[in-house]
Symmetry: C2
Amino acid sequence: MKVSILGRKNLEQVLELPSVIEGVKSAYRLKAAGKTVVWPLVSYDFEEVGGVMDIRSGCIFGENLHGLKMLNNFPANTEKGLPPFNGMLMIFDSTTGIPLGVMDAAYITCMRTGAAGAIGAQALARSDSEVLLILGAGKQSIYQIAAALTLLPGIKKVYIADALNQEHARTFAAACAERLQKDFSLECSQGAFLAAEDLAAAVGESDIIITITPSRSPVILKEWVKPGTHFSCIGADMEGKEEIDPTLFQGAKIYADDVKQCVQVGEMELPIKQGVIREADIAGEIGQVLSGEIPGRCSEEEITIFDATGLALLDLVTGKRAIDLAQAKELGILADI
Amino acid sequence: MKVSILGRKNLEQVLELPSVIEGVKSAYRLKAAGKTVVWPLVSYDFEEVGGVMDIRSGCIFGENLHGLKMLNNFPANTEKGLPPFNGMLMIFDSTTGIPLGVMDAAYITCMRTGAAGAIGAQALARSDSEVLLILGAGKQSIYQIAAALTLLPGIKKVYIADALNQEHARTFAAACAERLQKDFSLECSQGAFLAAEDLAAAVGESDIIITITPSRSPVILKEWVKPGTHFSCIGADMEGKEEIDPTLFQGAKIYADDVKQCVQVGEMELPIKQGVIREADIAGEIGQVLSGEIPGRCSEEEITIFDATGLALLDLVTGKRAIDLAQAKELGILADI
């Protein structure tokens, strides 16, 4: 049995954001159509070394795929000169159980997570949105920006906020246009990217806010937010994480990537546990909006929130696409397993 | 990052049963010493195609390893000319989260499961045991026999039982000595291997019984079993599976590979759910016996039962050994991930 083995470099050679976005949209739609299964999330805290791991798995009957990824995030690696974020994704044919491929999971996670944040914004933000704020200036932020600019050409200004390190936000913003050109072939004016020097003011000016930090307490307060703002909450994907004021959920139109998982580990976990909202207040899943089954935003005034905890389904469609493209280009290794 | 990719042929070239057995024993002992974590089992029934998958994962702090395997069992593959039993194992360094290797999981599962059954028998069976019965003549049975004969040189007769297909048991028994010689370098007299023509009589004659079928109702009745018999119950590893009369648990000395998992999916699942025994009746875990923390068998008369549901810990130690041996012999592929 020949199994496709793809390293990060191979993935960078074959995956392009527009096609990753299409794959993620199709996975969300297949989920809405009942053609997927999300298996229980397994996670673990390596307390002694300050690392975390999670295993996400699932099945897409619509594509005859199942599989899983294990992701490890060990921030202390950086001091040792090692990459902090590592993982592997394995993909099987769900009609035979035969393995199709194994690959680096870190790059695919960044690409498909960027796609998720932007898809939520495209589906739910006001169509006249011009100002985007990215909360978080870590390794995943550039993917969020690239995907948002790919799907939302009306965006004219992008704020970058780092609540812990203002200088970091400035350095990040200054390098944005060049990185987007180099890594994503996106032509943008450098003037569009600004560090959020005054977070409250930047929030108040923003039409779309994408949060992508590991925060465990709210960074964005309700009083800063203007009516009609859309949030794609991406960072909260484990119990105890939250990035925005729980009261922002009150009266908002709330969407999940997977209701069960969001209630368990998403941005809505704590607001529900605290009784700020009930599970019944969730409007539905993003795939239902994409497939026209339920409405998205209904007014220019309402706050919309897309809570995305991350699904193996997204990795599976993206990974399978990478396998097909790599085989066509004769990249990677075909190994006997 | 160089990751070791090992196919089944590589594993066959480097893994030998005696060293696999030592590895499995060490994993059980590390578990008893509190140096391991077993993460929750994820499993799924592909009802339409009659397949099952499970994900087992965990961490061995004693060896700085963590990881998981996904195993798929799709019996209908056989009709399509495809192998029914496929899977992959991935191993990471638990101090950094960096991947070490990916490999076929089917062969390792067979080897370490054989080791588990035999380790239970060595630790708990009467020391004068001479007759072994293997319930099940499927792909894993030869590994159970090979490991048992490796650890228990006093065995003089081996019955093979197949409750569904007597002819299959005969064919299997007739080929045993040659397969053991060829695949495990074990020299045995062909006369030692017999199909169990009368299951009740063979059970009554046996000192050690290893069950390795996917049965969902008891095949071995209590009235057939003589005092002092040891059971290694290996087949029951998912909810609803059982191979032996639940009342055999009454008054028996019961051991688990992992108490939580055995209560959930092991041979003891149904006897506990039916109220035949309580969880408090479990004497302990096999690793506690191996490390001398709790006693094993205390009389020649008692029935001992080792319930083994399978732990990723066993795969991890075995897989890491394979990586080291393969690197020393320059086998397999070192891939950039």
